[in-house]
Symmetry: C2
Subunit: 158 residues, 2 copies
């Protein structure tokens, strides 16, 4: 299981779990009507990596500045793990990679803008990697199962 | 002094103060190299209004969903007041308009993602209009005068 930079050829293998994760309605606020083509520039943007096990893509992350210009010293990142590959440390591998990458690139800090509070596995993982919850925006995410739940803003100085 | 929906023709009269406000480096994290053409789609997006006094544009605001899909019930807004028109209630008129517009459009709440903490006039105005500071992301904005300062996340249930 290696974490490597994504190539354009990886997108068709990321898209199936990207689509399923967005459709599940529990973790991401993306437009509802994305296709393989319209989703591509939303994900394949900035520094994108995949977790590759013998040619199977188990997950992906994208990372880069959280804002342009005078906010570009703060990084951010997004993560998707194929539901079929859960429990195998893919999210942790991607999270550790992102923090190390941002530190190496000279970023001051890393900010997650919208971590769904009911996504407790992710919240615990980010906390284990050094992130803290700065605040929770109340009822900011329409979870399919739980209704309106909060979005954590999580942060780590690097 | 009226607040009205912007038309495409208004952009050339918004751009000079948009440019000056971004160049001042105290309040907005936009790309550094914007031109009248490349800045246009960044501002003229969503519901855009201007404060018009006898044909002179004193300020502008844009508003709409803060996130797509499952976050689209939370609104956001951005504001620019021509520095030459400061102290005349233009920011207040735009802020009151935005809150009223979002409430009328059925939004659940309004969130500001990045209010520079040293922009104390704006912070006080948003508080007067009902917003609270949920948290302050430390050192997240590179102010030209003050160095790295915090970005407030401000919020109001509608």
């Amino acid at each position: 299981m290696i974490t490597r930079t994504a190539t354009a050829d990886d997108w068709p293998r990321i898209w199936p779990f990207f689509r399923d994760i967005v459709a599940a309605g529990e973790t991401y606020a993306y437009p509802e009507d994305l296709t393989e083509e319209t989703a591509r520039p939303l994900w394949m943007d900035g520094h994108v990596v995949v977790v590759d096990q013998d040619g199977t893509i188990l997950g992906s992350a994208k990372m880069g500045p959280n804002r342009p210009g005078r906010g570009a010293h703060v990084s951010t990142a997004s993560f998707m793990v194929d539901p079929a590959a859960q429990g195998r440390g893919v999210g942790r591998a991607l999270g550790e990679y992102a923090v190390k990458w941002a530190r190496g690139a000279g970023y001051h800090s890393m900010q997650f803008n919208a971590v769904v509070e009911t996504n407790t596995g992710a919240v615990a993982l980010w906390q284990a990697l050094g992130f803290q919850i700065l605040t929770t925006v109340p009822e900011a995410f329409e979870s399919r199962r739980h209704g309106r739940v909060g979005l954590h803003i999580m942060y780590q100085k690097l």
